[in-house]
């Protein structure tokens, strides 16, 4: 069953310059799907368009079979799409506990129960409940950002470069955390600069170049494709 279907998406930050020039992707239930490609290909733009932070110039976005391109970010959050941005993805002046509870703003009655489940899943967060989010390390902040995305019990998680700026150990831990989340059935669409590692854990991948999807396939197959390795995975 297809959860998300993007067809011929055209979008950008202003009318004159469209970054996405007709990208099409889909995510099926239970899948991890990675989008790889060179800088400026429109990978993050595609995620933002799905999250409702950018309006489409053309194309369609279907979520669980319903067209959602007309709804804003708030509507898509309510529909069950959680987007974890690459930067500024936590409220730095609030504590870890407050960051989690505010993330359940749409459904405060379940906040305590969901925070408890997330503290059990990520014990590091439980130990830092009272700490201001801006005092966390990069890896801890990414875990918090992901946990915040989970507070709404989303049906689809969008991750924008989750391991950007992390030390290799922390990046590997985060990839494990993403796999563990998906093992519970949560579909994940992510953009990742560590393309090889991302494809290794993905069911499928898309190669995005100049705003268009030019190749797709199973994650490991894409990672093993000699042309793709040479052009996009550094040999």
């Amino acid at each position: 069953m297809t959860i998300l279907c993007v067809e011929g998406a055209v979008a950008g930050y202003n009318r004159e310059e469209q970054i996405l020039k007709g990208a099409s992707i889909h995510v099926a239930a239970g899948e991890i799907v990675s989008i790889i490609g060179p800088n400026g290909a429109g990978k993050s733009t595609l995620l933002k368009a799905v999250a409702g932070l950018l309006t489409l110039g053309a194309g369609r976005i279907l979520f669980e079979g319903q067209a959602i391109e007309g709804t804003d970010a708030l509507g898509r959050a309510k529909a069950g799409i959680a987007f974890v941005p690459q930067e500024r993805n936590v409220f730095g002046t609030m504590t870890v506990a407050e960051n989690l509870s505010i993330s359940a703003f749409l459904d405060p009655s379940r906040a305590a129960e969901r925070s408890a489940a997330l503290y059990a899943r990520y014990p590091m967060l439980a130990g830092k409940k009272g700490a201001l989010a801006r005092t966390l390390s990069g890896g801890q902040r990414q875990i918090l950002a992901m946990a915040m995305g989970l507070m709404t019990a989303p049906k689809l998680l969008l991750l924008d470069e989750p391991t950007a700026g992390l030390a290799p150990g922390a990046a590997a831990d985060l990839m494990d955390a993403i796999l563990a989340l998906n093992a519970g059935g949560l579909p994940i669409l992510m953009v990742e600069q560590h393309a090889l590692e991302a494809l290794e854990i993905s069911h499928r991948g898309y190669v995005l170049v100049a705003g268009r999807d030019i190749a797709t396939g199973e994650g490991r197959a894409l990672a093993a494709d000699p042309d793709i390795r040479r052009l996009f995975l550094g040999g």
Binding site: A73, L74, R88, N89, F91, M94, I102, S103, T152
Partner: protein, 287 residues
């Protein structure tokens, strides 16, 4: 020495009165990112609402605070939201200029309805308390307690309530707040309601301390603005710290300069702060 301690005590009380509207000013700035000079009008509106409740309905001083809060909060929230909303896309400077115009309108509507006379609240006349050569009026002490209680209430609201936390989230990172399903329009209205309501309470506290007229808010506008800049624009604890520092500085200035120079303290404070520490005493921290 006594004169110094007396000035210090007066400064704390003046500062506490300034702190309440300064928190309101900062709350609006933190969420909507523009300095609302219309806050002066809401101070005056709250003062008059409290005055009517006191002199016509006979309510005691503490009961005037919710009256002023609701009157200024509701009228201020709706009017400021509706009238300045269209200007917001044009940027903070445009909205700030719009708020100066709005202030002139509020001031003149009040002048039209209530006249230009000075009005005093109907309060029991009580002798000052004296100890160790220091004089404190019982009403001043009550005002200090009321101002402190309001600050504690605001703190609790921002720390524990759903909308208080929503306000802090929008102040911290509006884009992320939107992703978390926090409706910026609703939070903007909550911030305006709280900010204008606190300005109204400030108006009553100032009125209880002195008297009121249509220029009551305008007279303290510079001090409120200076307190918020001093503490770091948009910072709630900063507004309290800034107001206390400014109140004390204004009273201490009276020891060495004639009272006409008192307002100059605000200008000097803004000048020094923007020159040497533009982010204010506490800066960045919205809460």
């Amino acid at each position: 020495m006594n004169a110094f301690i007396q000035a210090l005590a007066n400064g704390v009380m003046t500062g506490a009165l300034l702190a309440v509207p300064a928190i309101g000013f900062s709350a609006i700035f933190a969420v909507l990112r523009y300095p609302s000079f219309a806050i002066a009008g809401w101070v005056t509106l709250g003062a008059f609402a409290g005055w009517i409740a006191n002199t016509k309905l006979g309510l005691p001083s503490y009961a005037l605070l919710p009256v002023a809060f609701l009157a200024a909060g509701l009228i201020g929230g709706v009017v400021e939201d509706r009238s300045l909303r269209l200007l917001r896309p044009a940027g903070a400077l445009t909205v700030a200029i719009g708020s100066i115009g709005l202030n002139i309108i509020i001031e003149n509507v009040i002048r039209f309805l209530a006249g230009n006379d000075l009005r005093g609240f109907n309060l029991p006349l009580l002798p000052d308390w004296r100890f160790a050569g220091i004089r404190i009026g019982p009403q001043q002490a009550e005002n200090l307690v009321m101002a402190a209680s309001i600050m504690v209430a605001v703190f609790l609201f921002l720390k524990f309530s759903r909308f208080g936390r929503g306000m802090r989230a929008v102040a911290d990172n509006p884009d992320l707040a939107r992703l978390k399903g926090i409706d910026p329009k609703r939070i903007s209205f909550v911030a305006l309601f709280l900010g204008c309501g606190l300005a109204g309470i400030g108006g009553v506290l100032i009125g209880l301390d002195t008297s009121i007229d249509p220029l009551t808010g305008y007279r303290v506008l510079l001090s409120v603005f200076a307190a918020a800049v001093l503490g770091g624009l948009g910072s709630i604890p900063g507004a309290v710290a800034g107001a206390l520092a400014l109140g004390i500085a204004e009273e201490l200035a009276l020891l060495v300069a004639p009272p006409t120079y008192r307002t100059g303290v605000g200008f000097v404070a803004i000048l020094l702060m923007l020159t040497f520490r533009p982010r204010g005493l506490l800066g960045e921290r919205a809460f």
